[in-house]
Subunit: 215 residues, 2 copies
């Protein structure tokens, strides 16, 4: 499958590398086509790996992963252009983290909206599915790093898109439990949880942890 990955940070690189290792054609997108990290990644990740602008990567992918971060993410993401994402699944992995006040970061969107909802509003013809933002990058693509049962969450407005993303999460990445939280407004909960996740990280001492919903 042709896959676009928007973002060159740890999350983008980890997902892009995993997807390329599975034999997919992966194009990493950045604000500028000459981005150093994207160039280096494409050179090291094998035959199917390429890089370009956000618009290049979005247009290339049959499915697109959004992995940018920070307060400038939405502006940057806008340059992916709506026509490149129309009708496609856009997996929103990002968290609206604001590091401008130091550590720990705060969220710059929450409560009455979320990044996932905002992206769905910016790209109304994309099928936005929020997923993977509640675990560390390494755990996203290798959930076995955390032993035992634990859960991943998805939400989005398009039922078929969630089914397809859930299939990818299970068959490609190895997730055993994926909980559908409903429409894209559930992204508020998935993103707000990051504030607890960040504290748990300091207590647990490793980012290789997750939560299991016990009932």
């Amino acid at each position: 499958m042709k896959i676009g990955v928007l973002g060159t940070g740890t999350v983008g690189a980890t997902l892009a590398t995993k997807l390329a290792s599975l034999g997919h054609e992966v194009r990493m997108g950045a604000r500028r086509a000459t981005n150093d990290k994207a160039t280096a990644w494409a050179e090291s990740a094998g035959e199917g790996a390429s890089h370009g602008t956000f618009a290049d990567a979005a247009g290339f992918g049959e499915i697109v992963f959004h992995c940018t971060a920070g307060v400038g993410a939405l502006a940057a993401l806008g340059s992916a252009r709506a026509e490149n994402l129309a009708g496609k699944i856009l997996v929103d992995v990002a968290n609206p983290l604001d590091f401008s006040k130091g550590m720990p970061p705060t969220l710059f969107l929450s409560n009455d909206t979320s990044l996932g909802e905002t992206i769905q509003r910016i790209f109304p013809e994309a099928k936005v599915v929020k997923a993977l933002n509640t675990v560390n990058a390494d755990v996203m693509v290798d959930p076995g790093r955390v032993p035992g049962e634990h859960d991943l969450f998805v939400c989005g407005n398009d039922a078929g898109a969630k089914v397809e993303v859930t299939r990818i999460l299970k068959e490609w990445f190895g997730w055993k439990s994926v909980i559908d939280l409903g429409d894209i407004t559930a992204a508020r909960g998935m993103e707000s949880y990051l504030l607890l996740w960040l504290r748990l990280w300091t207590v647990v001492g490793t980012p290789d942890f997750n939560v299991c919903v016990v009932r």
Copy 2:
């Protein structure tokens, strides 16, 4: 022990009833001493149960549980008066829920502050410990309603107060795992998690659930 419970809603009543059933003297506080719910609770909850204003209940308790809710909670809580809480453990069970826009509620504080921090600022001489706000009222006092292993969180600036609250949670309420998330700023995470909790409730179909941190 003499215990003050501030708030007459489901959370306050559930905690007050449990504490009274354990043989403690419990005074439920409300905005007005003539509050119908507090009066009815005190009449039904046995010999050690009484009721009064927030100030009455705060002054009565050797330890005080804060269980008010809603956007008016902070203003109401102010009437408990700082001198009634000075030097005491104040267990903040409340969530800053705003139901003014319907269901699901939003949080009226988050990201760069929290209800727990705000209460600690209003009552600087109280030892505020955030606890119990991440589970349903019935589960707070009967964690066995959720089978298997699952975790409760506490945070606060006073180490001794957290030790004492953890003892109460374990010995009185039956909690097996209580995770100390650090100082009171961790209340941001504990309160923000509610947005995920509310969604999980709709998916799980019962409020008798919790999360287990897996590592």
